[in-house]
Amino acid sequence: MTTAAHLCRSVAPAAGIGLRAPHYREMLARRPPLAFLEIHSENYFGAGGPPHHYLEQLRQDYPLSLHGVGLSLGSGDPLDTAHLAKLKQLAGRYQPALISDHLCWTSVDGTHAHDLLPLPFTRAMAKHVARRIVQAQDTLGRRLLVENASSYVAFAQSDMTEWEFVNEVVAEADCLLLLDINNVYVNAVNHGFDASDYLAAIPSARVAEIHLAGFDTDERVQCLVDTHGKPVHAPVWALYQETVRRIGPRPTLIEWDADIPPLDVLLDEAAKANAILEQCHALAA
């Protein structure tokens, strides 16, 4: 017998999209071919209602990725065990293939900013975050993916590059990496490094998923902002291609959270990602 766990513990290295409420009905009616669906875990922390009504059905046809924004892995607070317990309950209910959160902090003293705030890149911070990832993994009983975050400012105390920091965290925590290529590009422009240097340093064996999204530009402070409200930009597609050539194909998410477009726009973006994945596959064959 095929169990849900058996079906969806793994994801094909092809494109998926974020499942968003405006697309629920159309997704159910059309069930387009996608390697996986990603949800924001916290949007399903409620006990019932429409979100679960739709997810229960779509879950029959797609492997799931639970992508969290609330674990606050870099916070100075103790890890929020109630939040973690809800995540574990959600994972128990839906048997996702992937569970992720971000290399950032979102709360302090129990006050939540609901924004992915940056961390200074120091050895001490890497150890701090890694300890909390280990605690989360121990509670969940499985490995977590952590996503490299976008950032708009730099800290005086940072004494290593972002990619050194990311490498140190994932090695120390023995976790997986959700490589957000848009975030690498945004940070490269904002902080003036070469995105290829970053991507070349990433431990490919740990990359379990890739994120692609669009950014905006804040002209006042000359800064790229990771808004998830646009198509993937050309230089990010180029970096994606470069990365897939180097590390091989990975499950790839088209992430779109602001000004959510018609479903077909997301499917077109997913098709572009698939074309790059297939092209690299053909080259490798």
Partner: protein, 249 residues
């Protein structure tokens, strides 16, 4: 990590960067991107929970009130859906409440609808099924987990109704229509507002507070009305049997 406190304080101020930690002047200027994002994320969350309040006061004023609210009542949960619980009382203390006296009640209604939306699923008890229940299990009758109750001196259910995007009828509500006792519930996937008679509302309130009919009936002043009221609540689709809703989680 003192610097995180400095960041949170700075995010919650109208302007200015954290006191220490950032590298140079460019970083201090770019901190504004974080404040804008912080205000936008929480503002959107509030607007998603309170769409009718937003329509009644307009986007601009809502934005102002939302910024004031998130400074006065920051979020205390990693789940953004828990944000906004004190919006009703906050609105009541604003000047706007003088012009729109019903606004806090509309906010309470929307907060209850927000809770109903995410509440545990359960099976409604149908009137026809009541006859099949053994009488000794009547004590286990309870409200559906999604049901919330409120009273207002204003016709807030009508205000809510005409401000739904799907509403195509007359958009005028006369405040002289008077107050209402409401059950806020979910019918299928949609929020439904059901006006109740006083005695049915009283029973629903007792069920809500006591959990089951067994406990609620002890609270009821007038047991004669119990049967009538229970019939009304079951007919309205607001009742479940504890034996049937526990396994639907």
């Amino acid at each position: 990590m003192r610097w995180q406190h400095d960041w949170m304080d700075a995010l919650r101020r109208p302007a200015g960067a954290p006191a220490s930690g950032l590298r140079d002047a460019r970083d201090l200027a770019r901190f504004e991107v974080y404040r804008a994002s912080f205000e936008a994320n929480l503002g959107h969350a509030l607007r998603d929970t309170y769409p009718v309040v937003n329509r009644l006061v307009g986007e601009d004023y809502f934005g102002q009130v939302a910024r004031a609210y998130l400074r006065a009542h920051p979020s205390h949960s990693g789940d953004i859906h828990a944000f906004g619980a004190e919006f009703e009382s906050f609105l009541a203390a604003q000047d706007s409440a003088r012009d729109l006296p019903y606004l806090p009640d509309v906010a309470r209604l929307e907060w209850l609808a927000h809770q109903a939306f995410h509440a545990t699923d359960a099976t409604q008890l149908r009137l026809a099924a009541l006859a099949e229940l053994p009488p000794d299990s009547y004590a286990d009758l309870c409200l559906l987990p999604c049901v919330r109750l409120m009273r207002s001196e204003f016709p807030v259910h009508r205000i809510w109704q005409v401000n739904q995007e799907s509403w195509g009828g007359d958009a005028v509500v006369r405040l002289e229509e008077g107050g209402v006792r409401l059950a806020v519930t979910r019918e299928g996937l949609d929020i439904a507002l059901l006006p109740l008679e006083a005695e049915a509302h009283e029973l629903a309130r007792a069920l809500f507070e006591c959990g089951s009919l067994d406990a609620a009936s002890e609270d009821m002043a007038d047991t004669d009305s119990l049967g009538r009221s229970l019939h009304a609540l079951i007919s309205a689709g607001l009742v479940a049997h504890t034996g049937t809703h526990l396994n639907s989680q």
